[in-house]
Point group: C2
Chain length 331, copies 2
């Protein structure tokens, strides 16, 4: 068995993250890692007639550019694994339709990028596929429309609220080549401490992030150079730090969060930071992946976190469960 | 590589479908296979205060009964893979929260049961897990509320419309034991011939069913005793038959559809038949699984079909893409 500890799967053979392609929106392009994106799209409709159609274009173009850049045809890719925040994961389904690849659709809210990469690594290491593309996306406007209030209303945002990233990243996993390798994968258990504040997703997700991180570190015993969650924002990040500190096992010196990396929290008026499936995806693709390639870090624990928030469940008095999936990557 | 043909994965080691547990609603209990369900719940709220909470109870109880029946603790199960029709797959998330198992959430509309079983088989055969539980659910009332019109309106249903099954099935996959084994898995490509009629999901899904079935049969060359799609209903089933006949490769004599198996089409006022993630799930668990166990059939091709219908995308003029995933099972 390739299971280690209680909940972690060891990837025995080499599963390389061979390449990535990232697309960001205008605000993401103006952020601290803006220059690292492969492409920035200033128009929040990208020539489409709805934000939803724009979002699916982000996903499709990210995957297509990744394939073109590496001379990959559809026959070279065994599976496309993708997901997003929209109901019926429409960005993913429509993009997958146009990409004409065998498709596995997943839903894990903002935890999706690590979920797709973890699943892809298992499938390649299991000997079933040689090449898999993982894609996720989010779009500020389509997410606000679905989860919160009409943008046209111009509502005041809460200070603990996060800003949904307009962006997408496509990741090419392969059993050949070179580059950073996925070594360990932990699929999270859903944690729910009863948070019902839809303007504080960071607090809703933090217990899940802590649970999965702790389990992954216990299971593997790996000393990571950098541990990154995504996307807890400033509020969730401080809770995770507090939980580890209370555990007398601080990770603070080597810990950061995608939601706080992607924007300049002070200057970009994003309140608690970034969120959305596109957040950890684009921070991984545009920033963390390059740190691995440049050998600035050798061991990265990439942990996407999702608030499984449902507007319908909220109206029925339910809380917001959280989940976090960990992918341990080594150069 | 365990890939055969263009798109199919061969499960090399034994992955047994060790047991199943099915729960159906009142209408499902009155249908032709009603007596085969493990449990029938007559109350469409099951004591809860919303249909959505009732649906998550279906999923949770199905998994819990399956575990209790087999003396399985949470530590015995490596992963729970689940999905449903509701936005943010809330039935699955909340059930997974209460079951306290590591969770992979998937979305494939009504194709979800085969998707979860296919993924589970790959993960076990890949050597990562010994025991996995796959669950899906649907509920007539929660689906109507989300996808169509308020039930209170009492709208007239179209003759090509299908009736969403109120039901759930939990399936236990294991690398040990006995019983039917999963042998081949084909994840489908999304097909979209431009159907925009939300009252004719069968027509929207049929091209995807045909595409995946044809690919699976080409890739494996297996002579199946029974080929079952789920849930195309009468309209989609006749289209699939027509497509194979035009191909001069009729499957008609050994082909059936879960949407036409679960209800008495003439007497139960369901128009084109059953649908929903719970349809192929409960027909598999309550009916097909037993046919395999009793050796009435030895080789079953189980193909769940999903209409990736989005009310938002429809309002924006988009069509309804379809997907179908195949799981080849042998006794």
């Amino acid at each position: 068995m390739k299971k280690i500890g209680k909940q972690t799967f060891r990837i025995k053979d080499d599963v390389y993250i061979r390449d990535v392609f990232t697309i960001g929106g205008k605000k993401e392009g103006e952020g601290p890692i803006g220059k690292e994106f492969d492409m920035i799209v200033d128009d929040d409709l990208w020539g489409e007639d709805s934000w939803e159609k724009c979002e699916l274009k982000f996903q499709k173009e990210a995957a297509q550019h990744l394939m073109n850049k590496n001379n990959l045809n559809t026959d070279d890719i065994d599976i496309l694994i993708s997901g997003d925040l929209l109901n019926q994961i429409t960005s993913s389904s429509f993009a997958a339709r146009d990409l004409m690849l065998p498709h596995i659709g997943v839903y894990g809210a903002c935890s999706t990028m690590a979920l797709t990469m973890g699943l892809g690594a298992l499938i390649i290491d299991g000997g079933f596929a040689s090449d898999i593309i993982c894609v996720t996306s989010s779009h500020f406007c389509s997410a606000e429309r679905q989860y919160r209030l009409p943008l046209e209303m111009g509502g005041q945002r809460h200070m603990s609220a996060q800003w949904t990233v307009t962006g997408s990243a496509a990741v090419w996993l392969s059993n050949s080549g070179s580059g950073p390798r996925i070594k360990n994968v932990t699929f999270g258990k859903i944690q729910d401490l009863g948070v019902k504040d839809v303007n504080n997703m960071g607090a809703a997700m933090a217990p899940a992030a802590y649970d999965s991180l702790k389990q992954h570190l216990d299971d593997t015993g790996t000393e990571y150079d950098l541990i990154v969650t995504g996307d807890l924002g400033t509020v969730g990040k401080s809770i995770v730090n507090k939980m580890f500190n209370e555990d007398k096992n601080s990770i603070e010196s080597k810990y950061d969060d995608c939601g706080t990396i992607i924007y300049d929290i002070e200057k970009q008026d994003v309140h608690a930071g970034g969120s959305g499936c596109g957040c950890s995806a684009s921070v991984f693709g545009a920033f963390l992946y390059k740190k691995l390639q440049n050998k600035e870090i050798n061991k990265l624990l990439f942990t996407s976190t999702g608030a499984l928030h449902s507007p319908t469940a909220m109206l029925q008095g339910e809380s917001i469960p959280g989940i976090a999936h960990c992918v341990g990557i080594e150069m």
